[in-house]
């Protein structure tokens, strides 16, 4: 037995030992993993719905632990990346322009409000120690998780264990004269010190003092 700890594996184990977490985890995995035909990897709409149910109905102590586990090696980070079954829920044949994707998201009232929550809670602040508004890591992590299962579903872009980069499935290519606005929008995911600190603090267990649980 290796002494190497894999927090993402520990999180999966904890989920499977809880009846509710196990049930909803299996539910989204079986739906997101089911191939429709050689041309169609899966039913993305159903997969997104099952993911939303998982994050809505399973307490954060299980879901956040799986999503934001800290890693020292690639195996762990790859497991972390695979949490939402990105080949179905995240990746697509084409990478849309981020502003176009934002436009699609804004036509759905829930996606629109989840994205607004994310911006309100994760927008980098230069007035706080943690770079997060009101030093509230939990609120930022919660609104990040709240976008999973929508058009703006974010994920880890690779299996780099320490240099955490998350992004929705889009790029700023073809932005025309909106290039700057697009980059600014995308950087709220990819180069956001609040989000990065929040994920790292959760993984290291150093977030506990900053976000006292409500009584």
């Amino acid at each position: 037995a290796s002494a190497k700890s894999n927090h993402c594996l520990d999180a999966a184990k904890a989920c499977n030992l809880n009846d509710n977490c196990k049930k909803l985890r299996s539910s989204y995995i079986s739906i997101c993993n089911r191939e429709i035909s050689p041309a169609e990897r899966c039913n993305r709409r159903k997969c997104h719905k099952a993911l939303r149910q998982f994050f809505d109905r399973v307490p954060g102590e299980y879901t956040y632990r799986m999503l934001f586990c800290s890693c020292r090696d690639r195996a762990c980070a790859e497991r972390r990346r695979q949490t939402i079954l990105p080949s179905c829920s995240y990746e697509d044949k084409e990478k849309p322009n981020c502003l176009d994707l934002r436009g699609v998201c804004r036509t759905d009232h829930l996606c629109r409000s989840r994205l607004a929550d994310f911006h309100a809670n994760c927008r980098a602040s230069y007035q706080t120690l943690t770079s997060c508004p009101a030093d509230n890591y939990q609120a930022c992590l919660g609104s990040y998780a709240g976008m999973i299962g929508f058009d703006m579903t974010p994920n880890y872009v690779d299996s780099n264990p320490t240099g955490i980069v998350v992004s929705p499935w889009c790029s700023c290519r073809g932005s025309g004269n909106m290039e700057e606005e697009c980059e600014k929008f995308l950087r709220d995911f990819t180069e956001n010190p609040c989000l990065r600190n929040a994920i790292q603090a959760f993984g290291n267990g150093t977030d506990v003092n900053l976000s006292p649980k409500s009584p």
């Binding site: 999966a12 499977n16 030992l17 196990k22 299996s26 539910s27 995995i29 079986s30 695979q82 079954l85």
Partner: protein, 103 residues
């Protein structure tokens, strides 16, 4: 269901295992709670069981162990999924008992 007290021996037991302990050929470090049914089903439950018991008592059957009720799952746990060491997800269905009965 009015069966309380009978076949009290047939019970559900849970054990905490590694998925690899199941011997199904998966390579993974994930774990599960496995629940199984065990215990005796000596007391007759149905008319069928009663007749069988009477027939064997009166030596009208060739063997007296024929067709006795067994303690078996009457409902299964929810599906279990896990990621294997090669980053492939698997799902186990009807792998663990939820309720037991003499059937």
């Amino acid at each position: 269901r009015g069966q309380r007290g009978r076949n009290r021996g047939c019970v559900l037991t849970a054990i905490h295992l590694n998925v690899t302990d199941l011997g199904l050929g998966y390579e993974t470090k994930e774990e599960l709670i496995f629940r199984y049914c065990s215990g005796s089903c000596d007391a007759a439950e149905t008319m069928y069981d009663k007749i069988l018991k009477n027939l064997s008592k009166n030596r009208r059957l060739v063997s007296d162990k024929v067709g006795q009720a067994c303690c078996r799952p009457i409902a299964y746990d929810d599906d279990l999924s896990f990621l294997d060491d090669n980053l492939v997800y698997h799902i186990l269905r009807k792998h663990s008992a939820k309720r037991c009965g003499c059937i």
